[in-house]
C-alpha cells in the first residue's frame, strides 16, 4: 500500500507519506539515491559473510531474505549451497536449511518431516491413516523370507491333509515408501491369519502398523538397500540438516494379500511414486539398465 505522499517535506527530494495500513509516517528515497532496503541487504550480506551472529539474528526476516537471495544466485550448485548454509549462525541456519531441503519436495509429508526434524526436538510422530496412505508404501509379503518359509510348510501340510490349514502369524518386515522423503525403507508390523488351501492358494489378512526412525542414518552401500544417489542424498542431509532424529509410528490398518496380489491390498490401494525433484530429473534422463 503506497499511502498518502507529501512531497519534499524533509528536503533533498525525499518525501514522507502516511501508510494507510499502519498510519505511521514513513520516508521514501527519491530515484537516483541509494535504496535503503538494498543498502540494508548489502550490510546484512556483509555481516553474514563475517558471521556476525548477534547482528544477523537481530536482522531477522531481512537476513533470511538475503540468504535465500544468495542461495538463488548459486543456481544449481548444491554443494556450494550446503556449504553456504553450514556457515550460517544458529536459528537462521536451521530455518534456511529446513526450507532448502524442503524445496526438493513437492509433497507435503517430506516437508512436514523435515520441519519436525529441525524443530520437533525428537518428539515421536504417529501417522494417521491418510498419512500412511500418502507415504505410498509398497508392501509385498512374498519379499519376506520367514513368510515364504512358513507358506511353503503350510502348503505342504495342506496338500498332504487335503484340507485347509490356518496359521496365526506375526511378522516384521521391511518395505519401501514410494513417496520420497517420507519413510524410505521402513518396518511393517503385521499380525493376522494365513489360510492355505490344499491346491496351494492362500490368503493372509489382519492388521498392520508402520514404524521407522527418521534420522538420515548413513548406511553401508552394499547392504544398506539405498542406491548410490539415495545414499549420497542421505549423507548430504546427515551432514548439513541440523535437527534431531525422531521415531515414527502409525495407526493400525487392515490388510489382505493372496497369491493373486502383487502386494498387500489395503486402504492405500496401488502405490504411486512421488519422487523428489532430483530423482524426477534423473528418471527423465536415464534409461533402465539391461
Amino acid at each position: 500500500m503506497a499511502g498518502f505522499r507529501f512531497p519534499g517535506a524533509i528536503g533533498n527530494g525525499m518525501s514522507t507519506y502516511i501508510d494507510v495500513g499502519t498510519l505511521t509516517r514513513a520516508v521514501s528515497m527519491p530515484p537516483g539515491l541509494i535504496d535503503p532496503l538494498d543498502h540494508a541487504k548489502h550490510w546484512v550480506r556483509q555481516q553474514i559473510r563475517q558471521r556476525s551472529t548477534t547482528v544477523i539474528q537481530g536482522a531477522g526476516e531481512l537476513a533470511y531474505r538475503v540468504v535465500m537471495q544468495e542461495l538463488r544466485a548459486l543456481h544449481g550448485d548444491i554443494q556450494a549451497k550446503v556449504d553456504y548454509i553450514a556457515t550460517l549462525p544458529g536459528e537462521l541456519r536451521d530455518r534456511v536449511a529446513a526450507d532448502f531441503f524442503s524445496s526438493f519436495f513437492d509433497h507435503y509429508l517430506p516437508k512436514k518431516f523435515i520441519h519436525h526434524f529441525v524443530y520437533g526436538n525428537g518428539k515421536q510422530i504417529k501417522l494417521n491413516l491418510k498419512e500412511m496412505i500418502d507415504c505410498n508404501p509398497s508392501i509385498n509379503l512374498l519379499e519376506s523370507t520367514p513368510f515364504n518359509n512358513r507358506l511353503s510348510k503350510l502348503r505342504s501340510e495342506a496338500a498332504s491333509r487335503q484340507s485347509r490349514v490356518d496359521y496365526p502369524f506375526t511378522l516384521e518386515m521391511r518395505a519401501i515408501a514410494l513417496t520420497n522423503g517420507t519413510l524410505g525403507q521402513f518396518t511393517t508390523k503385521l499380525n493376522g491369519l494365513i489360510q492355505v488351501q490344499a491346491d496351494g492358494s492362500w490368503v493372509a489378512e489382519g492388521r498392520m502398523e508402520f514404524a521407522d526412525d527418521w534420522d538420515f542414518d548413513p548406511k553401508d552401500l552394499d547392504r544398506g538397500g539405498r542406491s548410490a544417489s539415495g545414499e549420497a542424498k542421505t549423507r548430504v542431509a546427515h551432514a548439513f540438516l541440523p535437527g534431531k532424529a525422531f521415531s515414527i509410528s502409525s495407526e493400525s490398518a487392515d490388510f489382505r494379500q493372496t497369491e493373486r496380489d502383487a502386494r498387500v491390498v489395503w486402504a492405500g490401494g496401488t502405490p504411486v511414486p512421488a519422487y523428489d525433484k532430483v530423482s524426477a530429473a534423473d528418471i527423465g534422463v536415464t534409461r533402465p539398465e539391461r
Binding site: S144, T145, S152, D199, S227, E259, Y275, S279, P288
Partner: protein, 152 residues
C-alpha cells in the same frame, strides 16, 4: 624450465585429485551396476541362475536399489533340474493357480517373458530363499523364467 616444473606439479595434483575422486565414488558405489547387484543378491550359490540370462531390474524408487529382477534364459529340462538342485530348491509341477509373482511389474519390460502363461501341470517350478533374495523359477519348453525379489 620453472614453468614446466609448475605444469608437471599441477598435472600431478590433478591426477591425484581425480584419483581420490574416483576412489570416493567407487567407495560410494557409483560404479556398482545392476548386474553386480543381481549377482550380489543371488550370492555364490545362486550365480548360475543368472548365467547367460536376459534380465530386467525393477526399481520403483531410484533412491533405493532394485527391489527385484526378472530373467529369461534358454535351458533344457536337465539343466533346470541341476540348477534347482545346486541352489537347494525343490522342483514341483506348475500348479493350477494364477500367481501375481509371475507378472512383470509396471515399468518392467522383458521380451520373451511368458512365465504367467505356462500351463498347469506341463511346466516345472522351484522356489525358495537363495542368497539375499527369494527366488521363483519356472521352466517350460526349453525356457527358464526367474523372479528374484530382494529378501526382507
Amino acid at each position: 624450465m620453472k614453468a614446466r616444473a609448475w605444469g608437471l606439479a599441477a598435472l600431478l595434483a590433478l591426477l591425484v585429485g581425480v584419483g581420490w575422486l574416483a576412489k570416493g565414488m567407487y567407495d560410494m558405489g557409483f560404479f556398482t551396476s545392476n548386474r553386480q547387484e543381481l549377482q550380489q543378491l543371488l550370492g555364490s550359490a545362486g550365480q548360475a541362475i543368472a548365467d547367460d540370462a536376459q534380465w530386467a531390474a525393477w526399481t520403483p524408487d531410484p533412491n533405493h536399489k532394485p527391489r527385484g529382477f526378472y530373467l529369461v534364459r534358454v535351458l533344457d529340462e536337465d539343466g533346470f533340474r541341476r540348477l534347482a538342485s545346486s541352489t537347494g530348491l525343490q522342483v514341483t509341477l506348475v500348479p493350477d493357480l494364477v500367481e501375481a509373482v509371475w507378472s512383470l511389474p509396471a515399468g518392467v519390460d522383458l521380451a520373451q517373458w511368458r512365465a504367467p502363461a505356462v500351463p498347469a501341470g506341463s511346466g516345472l517350478q522351484a522356489l525358495g530363499a537363495v542368497g539375499g533374495s527369494n527366488v521363483w523359477l519356472r521352466w517350460h519348453e526349453g525356457m527358464l523364467y526367474g523372479v528374484v525379489l530382494r529378501a526382507s
